[in-house]
């Protein structure tokens, strides 16, 4: 297991993408999901399911996250 905080993003076809929490936080929605005060399922397990997003798209999204972290200041 990686030491840094990570989250798991699961696509519609059951592909799991493990990315850093910082990368995931680029998205406001995911950020809200994970930092919501309420005890939603996501915060407890540390994984988010996207039943409507396919794996290919989710992969691109993850790549975008990392690009955003690196280049946009």
């Amino acid at each position: 297991m990686k030491r840094k905080d990570t989250v798991k993003l699961i696509s519609a076809d059951e592909m799991e993408f493990v990315i850093d929490k910082d990368a995931a936080m680029v998205s406001q929605t995911i950020r809200n999901m994970l930092t919501s005060p309420g005890g939603f399922a996501e915060t407890e397990l540390g994984e988010v399911t996207f039943p409507e997003i396919s794996a290919v798209i989710l992969e691109k999204i993850c790549q975008y996250f990392y690009w955003a972290l690196q280049y946009s200041r």
């Binding site: 809200n32 999901m33 919501s36 939603f40 399922a41 039943p51």
Partner: protein, 732 residues
């Protein structure tokens, strides 16, 4: 873009198309509604954020945002009504705690709901200009809970009661208070102000009004001020702990108004402990406290200032017109200096060097010092006393300090030229009798006067010093050129320039033979080096040291004035002399001679002469003998030195007249100076200008100025304008 060719393929619509199904909206909404219920019941862990978010997103996307929004409002309102019922049910003290808890819950739930409905918040709401979710939640809370009839009044009364309890000394739960107040603030500043702050301020005002009434009846001024300060600090602390920062100003205003402003006059004039007593007793702490507290209210400081000024003027007037004190000028001036020191330290310690108070102090001093028109004379006498003996053994810095203080008093004088006249007289006496303690001190005082009043003031004084120095050199030259005189009586001559020294009528007397020969030699020597000058001997200002042997062989060295020396030398040739004989032989004027003889014959311990009859007064027929039985503990005996004294009435009148005379040309010079530059000026302006110019020397009298103007017109320096009687024109 227009299709030229028919496409081979069609771009298919999204496979994942949501069914536009009226029931779809209902379904989705029920899912969300259920979720909201769960959230409010703290059951959110079973839910999937993503799913809810997706549902909300879809609803908005398919134009069901309206339904979502209204549904949200309805659900939240229902929940809140339930919550408010449960809060109402809480008893007594638990009320606030219950409210607090429910508020926290509501906030958390609101946060979660907002997160889920983020998409709606971002798109639907700005488009339709509805209130965002978070704000909506707060508003609903406010309307249903806080403003619900039962809760509102209860909440307010509980809060006020807690504050009251704390004011009376109990300890309350500050954390709870802070949270509740914060809740009110979060709901909007108007809520906070309307629901809490305004009633709070009113209740506080009442409370402090009552308390201040109670205190002022039973406490004295110092205690009351202590209590007021305590309460003020308490309120400030309260604000920092659990109230809104903006309330600090308002509540402090209330306290200040009730406790201080309303009772200001009463406090200041309180008997036995009011401002005046504090000033008299040097109560620095109390004064400092009064200053700090009164500074917060309008007109507070000016009240203190006014009372202090009037008190100071009272005291000053008493001091200055008290006949007792006037007998000893040194004492008088010392008391003035003491008062000044006392008030300076009060202002610096208690009033933190406030400039306005300094100004008030200065103006009061100026006022009452000038009430007594002998003040310039007395100040000069004080300086004289200090320079003669008071400064012996005092270190240089202390000398400077004392002289600076005297300068301060000098600045308050309005008639500085009177001071100048007296100072010149006293300085002359000091220099000629060689009685000044420290030459440096004299010079430093002159420098101070010069910086204060300009070169003109001190030029003559400096001339006097120069004369003394020159005389020393002259004497050295004289004895160097006449070596045969070293065996005879030693002559020390001070050559004085007539202009610099105070004018005295020069009365000569008949010097004994040994002396007159010597004097003639000196005169010829001096006129040899300085032709064209005229010398006249001022015998009334000289001193002499003579060795005397009395009947039983006691030898003494007597330090006497020149007149007395002449008289005593006569007894070298005769044993008995009558008054008439003495008068004839010496040629000394009667009054001076009488004083001389009195000091030598009638004063105990210094009676080198014996008088018959042994009366205090000198009559025409009295006879004088050398007192063979004269004894003294010391070898050197000082008799009748010329001391600077307080002037007697006729002398005082004379000096004042001379001062008036001196002022006339000064006024005229000022008028001419002004007219020369202005050419044409009207009457009032002339008077104003002249007064301003002469301010540094004396206070000019308008009638005097008018007289001078008339005199100048007569002498054709000015003329009246033909058309306007008030206008004057300068004639070149």
């Amino acid at each position: 873009m227009s299709n030229q060719k028919k496409r081979n393929f069609q771009i298919e619509a999204f496979k994942h198309r949501v069914v536009v199904d009226p029931k779809y909206a209902e379904k989705t909404w029920s899912i969300l509604e259920h979720a909201i219920h769960e959230i409010y019941n703290h059951n959110a862990s079973g839910l999937s954020f993503e799913e809810l978010y997706r549902n909300a997103y879809n609803m908005v996307l398919h134009k069901f945002g309206e339904k979502l929004y209204s549904g949200l409002v309805a659900t939240m309102t229902a929940h809140l009504k339930e919550i408010s019922k449960s809060i109402e049910a809480a008893q007594g003290d638990l009320f606030l705690e219950e409210l607090n808890r429910k508020w926290n819950d509501h906030n958390k739930a609101l946060q979660m709901i907002r997160d889920i409905l983020m998409y709606m918040d971002r798109t639907y709401i700005p488009n339709t200009h509805k209130t965002p979710v978070h704000e909506l939640g707060l508003n609903l809370w406010r309307d249903n809970v806080i403003h619900s009839s039962k809760i509102q009044s209860r909440l307010l009364s509980m809060l006020l009661e807690l504050v009251h309890r704390e004011r009376t000394g109990e300890v309350i739960d500050r954390g709870l208070m802070r949270n509740i107040i914060k809740m009110l603030m979060d709901l909007g500043s108007s809520v906070y102000q309307e629901d809490f702050e305004k009633p709070f301020l009113e209740v506080s005002a009442e409370f402090y009004m009552g308390e201040s009434q109670k205190f002022i009846e039973c406490c004295d001024c110092g205690d009351y001020l202590k209590k007021a300060e305590l309460r003020l600090n308490e309120e400030i602390e309260r604000v920092t702990h659990y109230l809104d920062v903006k309330s600090e100003v308002k509540i402090t205003n209330v306290v200040e108004k009730e406790m201080i402003a309303n009772h200001m006059m009463r406090l200041v004039h309180m008997e036995n402990s009011g401002l005046v007593n504090m000033l008299l007793d040097d109560k620095y702490e109390d004064l400092g406290r009064m200053y700090n507290l009164f500074r917060r209210v309008p007109n507070g400081l000016s009240t203190i200032r006014d009372v202090m000024t009037s008190h100071l003027r009272e005291i000053g007037k008493q001091l200055v017109t008290d006949a007792e004190k006037l007998r000893d000028p040194v004492e008088f001036v010392q008391r003035l200096l003491d008062e000044k020191d006392k008030y300076d330290s009060i202002i610096s310690q208690a009033f933190s060097n406030d400039k306005t108070f300094q100004n008030a102090l200065n103006s009061s001093f100026e006022y009452f010092i000038n009430l007594n028109n002998r003040s310039p004379e007395f100040i000069s006498l004080y300086v004289d006393d200090k320079l003669r003996k008071g400064l012996k053994g005092v270190s240089e810095e202390d000398v400077e300090i004392i002289l600076d203080k005297v300068m301060m008093l000098f600045r308050y004088l309005q008639e500085k030229d009177v001071f100048e006249k007296y100072y010149k007289q006293h300085l002359a006496k000091r220099l000629l009798s060689g009685k000044t303690v420290s030459d440096d001190a004299e010079r430093s005082l002159i420098v101070k006067l010069k910086t204060e009043c300009g070169y003109q003031f001190t030029s003559k004084l400096e001339g006097m010093f120069t004369d003394m120095k020159t005389s020393q050199d002259t004497m050295q030259g004289f004895y160097a050129s006449h070596p045969e005189l070293t065996d005879g009586p030693t002559l020390v001559v001070q050559v004085l320039t007539t202009g610099s020294w105070p004018t005295q009528p020069s009365i000569t007397c008949n010097l004994p033979a040994e002396m007159s020969a010597l004097c003639e030699k000196f005169r010829s020597y001096y006129l040899g080096t300085h032709t064209g000058r005229r010398l006249s001997w001022q015998t009334n200002m000289g001193t002499a040291d003579i060795k005397a042997t009395f009947g039983k062989g006691q030898k003494h060295e007597l330090n006497v004035s020149t007149y007395q020396m002449c008289v005593l030398m006569l007894f070298n040739n005769a044993d008995r002399l009558s008054y008439k004989e003495v008068e004839q032989a010496t040629g000394i004027p009667a009054s001076d001679l009488k004083r001389c003889l009195q000091s030598m014959a009638c004063v105990k311990g210094k009676n080198v002469l014996r008088k018959e009859p042994m009366s205090k007064d000198i009559g025409e027929d009295d006879a004088f003998f050398v007192n063979d039985k004269f004894t003294s503990k010391f070898y050197k005996v000082k008799i009748g030195t010329v001391v600077a004294q307080k002037e007697s009435e006729p002398e005082k009148q004379e000096t004042r007249q001379r001062v008036e005379e001196d002022r006339k040309p000064q006024i005229e010079a000022a008028i001419v100076r002004i007219m020369k530059s202005r050419r044409v000026l009207d009457h009032n302006n002339i008077i104003a200008e002249v007064t301003k110019q002469l301010q540094s020397r004396f206070l000019a009298n308008p009638t005097e100025i008018k007289k001078r103007i008339e005199s100048l017109i007569e002498r054709d320096f000015l003329e009246r304008d033909n058309n306007d009687r008030k206008l004057y024109r300068y004639l070149a």
